[in-house]
Symmetry: C2
Subunit: 387 residues, 2 copies
Amino acid sequence: MMRRLSLFGATGSVGQSTLDLVRRDRESLRVSVLTANSDVAELARLALEFRPDLVVIADEKRYDDLKQALAGTNIGVAAGADALIEAAQYPTDLVMAAIVGIAGLAPTMAALEAGVDVALANKEALVSAGELMTAAARKSGATILPVDSEHNAIFQCLAGGRIDQVRRIILTASGGPFRTMSADDMARATPAQAVAHPNWSMGAKISVDSATMMNKGLELIEAHHLFPVGLDRIEILVHPQSVIHSLVEFVDCSTLAQLGSPDMRIPISSALAWPQRMVTPCAPLDLASIARLDFEAPDEVRFPATALCRAAIAEGGARPAQLNAANEVAVAAFLAGRISFPAIVETVRRVIDADAPATPASLQDIFSVDVASRAAAQYLVDHFEHA
Amino acid sequence: MMRRLSLFGATGSVGQSTLDLVRRDRESLRVSVLTANSDVAELARLALEFRPDLVVIADEKRYDDLKQALAGTNIGVAAGADALIEAAQYPTDLVMAAIVGIAGLAPTMAALEAGVDVALANKEALVSAGELMTAAARKSGATILPVDSEHNAIFQCLAGGRIDQVRRIILTASGGPFRTMSADDMARATPAQAVAHPNWSMGAKISVDSATMMNKGLELIEAHHLFPVGLDRIEILVHPQSVIHSLVEFVDCSTLAQLGSPDMRIPISSALAWPQRMVTPCAPLDLASIARLDFEAPDEVRFPATALCRAAIAEGGARPAQLNAANEVAVAAFLAGRISFPAIVETVRRVIDADAPATPASLQDIFSVDVASRAAAQYLVDHFEHA
């Protein structure tokens, strides 16, 4: 059966992996919509290859370039934030939400409100607006298929079970590049050290989030929204090899786990083919060669970010959006050499220690919290710099 | 919803664990039938506690004792092999087949032919008569719910998936007490050394099977019957800690695994409650405390049993029944100090190297193969002893 796919964020890493899988299974998958932020040349190239009905470039200034590149084709062309939201409502079977950052939130919400299943690779959207998104999905009947490897693992482990039969969800964490580093050495850690992730090849922002373990804290918030078993039933387990992507323990004390090579095409394919599976070109797991898997409890003294995230989602309301916004500003400041590594999490802590804004009731409220929290974090960063 | 349970082999280890779970969930489980081989006192005690409709003692000589012990109750009493078969057809929702050895085959077949779901803890039945049993289940629509921890793990991993989407089944093996022993030392191994299993507390026969890895070979045969993905898609992986009970790799290279403490009540509860789950008193898995899981490829030079089993099931027909019968005789001879440890597998090899009997078409054929193969093995054992 042919499935139609709308791909938001076609030129990024998840977008490219998605299209790699589509290329191998043109019989079952057809691209209806492609979008990108600003890379017109690549978006046009992909449009000519995949022949979607519609392409959208977020940056309105690139509209003419895109229009010209696709002249003579019958591919529809649009540009701008509103066009992205309209494109999310274009008839399709699955929206792949792979736009990075808060920019992906509005089109993702539009798809969920329209009752379209969403393969969600946009972490920030769910962290900042998890309650609005899950409420929209419940109302419209849309399914959120998580693409993050950890949440996809949990989703797969739950496929045969019911969420009320879950005793515990165990989110695995690599521990990041500083897992064995002393607090003193972390205080002197450089951006170059922080972006060297041991298992996955990732961008600078998410690599730093892995080093602080803020990434795992954000995933804890995501897991809480996606799998509402109660926050005290979601634990973090450090597993340096990142072979087990997460585990679900049921009331009978039977535990299911999903494992795989560190290749994003595995969780992406799981979302694309769900509830079936599709053949991928990924490397099968060779546990005899891997030989050994290690596990340890997280150290929330050296890595306070996960406890901070747990507190933020326990309080709820605007806190997770504040936390996410402050973290983005603090990570950028660290990468620019303006604040120390421990100051990243400290900046976030101070932003969410302020009086709580009102609970966001709309995307507009989320955006307001986001802007205000970025400004607050920026103020603190400037303050750290001059301290 | 109340489920009726007929428990065959109530006084053995799996039977006792089953009743321990029933005791904790009297709201959902009601025992209809209890059977035992010869332990009248314990069977009567259990009957008075669980108040089944019918109890059966296999040993006909104990009928009067059982009748007398249950005098004044309205519990039906019967004895003998035919009574066991009739009891397997007694109205129920699930038969727990926990009789050890070939003695469990006839009642299990009777239940499958009657279309009753069977929780199967009887390894020998499936090894010897797998084709007849799976054919009977297919014909009547009965489901076989495996209770062996490895097969139950695979069954759980498949719950959300389809067998035609399986790329590989990976059966884990502890490697047994002789995993790191040299071939020379194995040649001198004693029964006392062989029965010291590192992870599970088990009887002497299955402990020796674990030491030779014949146990894993028998499980390979079982897996082939239960999960017909093709013999070349079933692999064995040595995993000394026995925490991962087995794994299923799908066509997308995503792998699911089931993990748990070494407590048979976990797979038993899975079969009792399937497709739901029930609360058990088992210890949750604490991977941070376990700290480390190891994996290695099996060494089929030092442990030739698994390759022998693979060859036997590849040839099919009477071979697996021959192999199982010969192994029982050889293990008993080893435990009695009559043959060496390597002579166990060598005896089995010689028995199945003989001309193949006709493919069994009935249980009677299986029993004939069983008897003839035991005689052949006994002849070889006597020969080894005098060599």
